[in-house]
Amino acid sequence: MIIDSNKIQKVIDDSPQDKKQLIMILQNIQLEFHYLPKESIGLVSEYLGMPQSTVYSAATFYKSFSLVPRGENIIKVCKGTACHIKGADLIIDQLYAGIGIKPGQTTKDMKYTIEVVNCVGACAMAPVMIVNDKYFGEVKCNRATKLVKKG
């Protein structure tokens, strides 16, 4: 995937030029491109006058940042204790059957990415699936694919 550096620069330029805002700038970039393109590390470090190693440390430390391309829609399947027992694995299997990818993978058309997350704090609704920040509780595994399309 080719990302135009100018586009990244534009996102960066719209953010405050303050070292404290590093995480926010990285979040803004991720919001725009769904991941942190390789060039963004260098551009952010230049913009904030920070060493590349520091920016890269922050970007790799937090799990919510991704350095590999992700799809437009992020599907998060909870695999915390409650969801696990309530059949999170079945949801994952069903999604594989429906859109053909496993956790950590992205569809070729860059539409979907599946991620497995630990507890999201909604155990009462287990099993939980989150599609683009929309929470679905008590997911029936045969409806998982439909929910994704809906989300």
Binding site: I41, Q52, S53, V55, Y56, T60, F61
Partner: protein, 842 residues
């Protein structure tokens, strides 16, 4: 409670100890020889408390405390070896070994590994973590996670215990940002950001401080086990800082060099030139026998033949035309014994003052240079730099010239809040942390210094009584004019003048550009004026830093003509006589040779063809000699044209000493036997003297008192007077307008470091550094070939666009035998100027 408010009394393992406030428990314990193990602690780094092996039990504390990051408190009771502490240490080790591969049999650190030793001492032989160890594996086909993170550094993340010593030292001490810790938890790794490399001049230190085998050097890896080596105390033979080294050898081979910490000089850090410089003596193409020129080729000969020929020729010249028709040049990278014997041979045997050591200098003064030698004889201590409130660096790219002085300056600025002012013709790495880095127009330093003096006088900031009188002697004599010539704003000059007068302790450091400048008397005078006006002689130190390992020694041992009265007296005192001729400095020797007044030269350890800053002149000069004797360690451009070539031993092959830039004599020991039939310079010289039936010594012990006398510091007080300084613009040929700076490359020092594989891996070919602006104007990229042309020569060089140059100055690097840039230089020109044309098709 303690009686002295600054001292704190505490009890460690039943012993009473009193230490200053702010000391850590660890340091307090070590001060009474109680050992507490550490991984992440380093004497020169701030505590991190990341490894937790230094646990101690402190009464009334709820938990075990990390002693490296806990300050002492009054009446503290500390136990360093209680049952609880030992249990804690065991637990820490168990965690460290959780994912550690325990590949000690193939690990180069084995035998000197802190983790191995501590596990041996405290560890249990089993682990409760019986799951599969986490593995960092990059290459699926390899069992090892070997990743090259620098040109000479291999990282194995599996062995890493995450003490962060490398990351911290790299950032806090060396000011480099190219190493960091990425990811988190189990999978944390020490690495460079994508696409970068650890290639600073100090990179080898990161390997040395690694407590485990996570970072290893390419030169030491898989070559030998540490317990099969012996160590030898040595001293670095490259720059004048004089770092102390330990050489690790077995039989006739040296395997590595590490720092031998000396807090007065290096504080335990050495640069990569010193670290990998031991590879030069290990070069495979060392000269092993004397060679005598027969017809067009040089054929191997015995020492008797070679020495016989030399004695016979020298004797003939001396008898027929006088000893003054023989010139001598010796490298300042050689030891004190050799330098002294060389001077003694010329002065006592040949009765000539034609000795010199300054191969890389342009025109040398034809009389004793008073101002410069007065300045260089002032005491200067590297360790005093950190006591300064203000550091003024003149004409010196410290990182390249004096890496360890650079670290002290950095320490003073970053840890002790000193302010730094750097006055250079191009921006430098050291200047990056400066309060103000003044990049003046090249060749106008004395105008700028005049401006500074005028600023001090005009703002009434000086207590110097003859200030008004001095002002009349200066040209330019208005600050506006000085500002116009140097290109530095009046406001910046004024604020520097103010800063100088406001502080209590100043270090003034001047470097190579000044030392090797044609104008060095003028520049020295300008510095003296400044020091008088600002009172720097009374409230600080002035260091005009010498260049090579023993340059200071060569100056003190009088290996040069045109000596001061004081030095002549000293020589008369030890030898009872002194030749009554004037003597020739190196460039005079070369000119005399061209005029056929000099018949012969004796060169030791110097590749004059590459070093002398006028390639055309030196070629003509050396070729016109009737008889040229060159002693060197390998074949060079200069040995190729010699009539007799003698194999020279290197500093690792005999005992002697170097005198560093602080005038401290440091002894070093032989690590190996002389390679082949090579001999130390002092023995070669003595053997030639024996041919004259006047041996210089029976045993070297006879020379020691002589050297000691000459090296003694001058007791007589120097008195300084102000001097007239006039800036005269050098005439320029309008066709050649781009100023060219020629210096040592970062990872090279002298012509022989090309022989070191590791140093060549950092940089193996010459290049031309230009500013991004100039690159745009010429429309060139990194690697494009440019023809660099001066009035006297031309050469093609690849371009490197440098972040350190932002004006129209270009910089090239000397001593690359494939690209002898000295052919561009002219000995009479202060600033060499060139024109650049892009070679098409690159």
């Amino acid at each position: 409670m303690s009686d002295d408010s600054n001292n704190i009394n505490l009890t460690i393992d039943g012993q009473q100890v009193s230490v200053p406030r702010g000391t850590t428990v660890l340091e307090a314990a070590r001060s009474i020889r109680i050992d507490i193990p550490t991984f992440c602690w380093h004497p020169k780094l701030k505590p991190a408390g990341s490894c937790r092996i230094c646990y101690v039990e402190i009464e009334k504390a709820r938990t075990l405390m990390v002693s490296c990051a806990t300050d002492v408190a009054p009446d503290m009771v500390v136990h360093t070896a209680s049952e609880k502490v030992l249990q804690g240490r065991k637990a820490v080790l168990e965690f460290m070994l959780m994912n550690h591969p325990l590949d000690c049999p193939t690990c180069d650190k084995g035998g000197e590994c802190d983790l191995q030793n501590l596990t041996f001492k405290h560890g249990v032989d089993d682990s409760r973590f019986d799951f599969k160890k986490y593995r960092h594996i990059r290459d699926k086909n390899s069992t090892f996670d070997d990743l090259r993170i620098g040109s000479e550094i291999i990282r194995n993340q599996n062995r890493c215990i995450l003490c962060y010593k490398c990351v911290r030292a790299n950032k806090d001490i060396f000011g480099e940002q190219d190493l960091g810790a990425y990811q988190r938890g189990n999978i944390t790794e020490i690495n460079t950001p994508p696409g970068e490399q650890v290639d600073s001049l100090y990179s080898g230190n990161l390997v040395e401080i690694c407590p485990v085998g996570a970072l290893t050097n390419t030169d030491w890896r898989y070559k030998i086990r540490v317990w099969n080596t012996q160590t030898v105390d040595s001293v670095c033979s490259y720059c004048a800082d004089g770092c102390n080294l330990t050489l690790w050898k077995d039989k006739q081979k040296i395997y590595r060099a590490t720092s031998r910490r000396n807090d007065n000089i290096d504080e335990g850090w050495i640069c990569d030139v010193g670290r990998y410089g031991y590879q030069v003596p290990m070069a495979e193409d060392r000269l092993t026998t004397p060679l005598i020129k027969k017809g067009d080729s040089q054929v191997p000969a015995t020492w008797e033949e070679a020495l016989g020929l030399i004695s016979e020729k020298f004797k003939k010249i001396k008898d027929e035309r006088g000893g003054v028709c023989i010139g001598g040049l010796i490298s300042p990278n050689l030891d004190s014994l050799s330098l002294h014997t060389f001077s003694k041979f010329f002065r006592m045997v040949l009765n000539s003052n034609n000795v010199d050591f300054r191969a890389g200098y342009k025109m040398l003064p034809e009389k004793a240079d008073d101002l410069y030698s007065k300045l260089t004889s002032l005491p200067f201590k590297i360790s005093d730099i950190e006591k300064s409130d203000l550091i003024l660096v003149l004409d010196s790219d410290l990182t390249k010239e004096h890496p360890i002085v650079n670290l002290r300056v950095r320490k003073a600025v970053t840890q002790k809040n000193a302010s730094l002012f750097a006055l250079n013709p191009i921006t430098t790495q050291t200047g990056g942390i400066a309060t103000d880095e003044m990049v003046y127009n090249i060749g106008t330093l004395h105008a700028l210094l005049n401006g500074l003096c005028i600023s001090l006088i005009d703002q009434n900031l000086t207590q110097y009584e003859n200030a008004r009188d001095l002002k009349n002697k200066l040209s330019p004599n208005t600050i506006e004019e000085a500002s116009r010539i140097s290109g530095i704003d009046v406001a910046r000059i004024n604020s520097l003048a103010k800063a100088i007068t406001e502080v209590k302790n100043i270090s003034l450091i001047a470097g190579e550009l000044l030392t090797s400048s044609i104008n060095r008397e003028q520049l020295s005078g300008a510095i003296i004026n400044l020091c008088l006006l600002a009172g720097i002689f009374d409230k600080g130190q002035v260091g005009v830093l010498s260049q090579a390992a023993n340059s200071k020694g060569a100056e003190k041992l009088a290996v040069m003509p045109h000596l001061s009265e004081r030095s002549i007296l000293k020589i008369k005192q030890i030898w009872d006589k002194y030749p009554d001729n004037d003597g020739l400095a190196l460039d005079q020797m070369i000119r005399s040779s061209i005029k056929e007044e000099l018949d012969s030269m004796f060169i030791i350890g110097s590749n004059l063809m590459l070093e002398y800053p006028d390639g055309a002149v030196v070629k003509e000069g050396l070729e016109k000699l009737d008889f040229l004797v060159v002693a060197d360690i390998c074949e060079t451009e200069t040995t190729q044209i010699a009539d007799v070539v003698l194999p020279l031993s290197t500093w690792v092959e005999y005992d002697s000493s170097f005198v560093n830039l602080e005038s401290v004599e440091q002894k070093f020991k032989a690590a190996i036997k002389p390679v082949g039939f090579s001999l130390p310079a002092y023995q070669i010289i003595n053997k030639i003297a024996q041919g004259f039936k006047t041996p210089l010594f029976e045993t070297i012990d006879e020379l020691i008192p002589e050297i000691k006398t000459l090296l003694q510091p001058d007791d007589s007080q120097n008195s300084f007077e102000n001097c007239a300084i006039e800036y005269i613009e050098e005439k320029q040929n309008p066709e050649f307008e781009i100023p060219l700076l020629i210096t040592n490359e970062l990872h090279h020092f002298g012509y022989f470091t090309e022989k070191s594989n590791s140093l060549s891996n950092f940089c193996s070919e010459a290049f031309l550094e230009i500013s991004p602006g100039l690159a745009e104007k010429l429309d060139v990229k990194n690697g494009s070939i440019i023809r660099v042309e001066s009035e006297v020569g031309k050469i093609n060089l690849p371009v490197k666009i440098s972040e350190y140059i932002d004006n129209d100055v270009v910089r090239a690097y000397r001593n690359f035998s494939a690209s002898p840039v000295n052919i561009l230089q002219m000995r009479k020109r202060n600033i060499d100027r060139v024109k650049l044309t892009v070679v098409e098709g690159t």
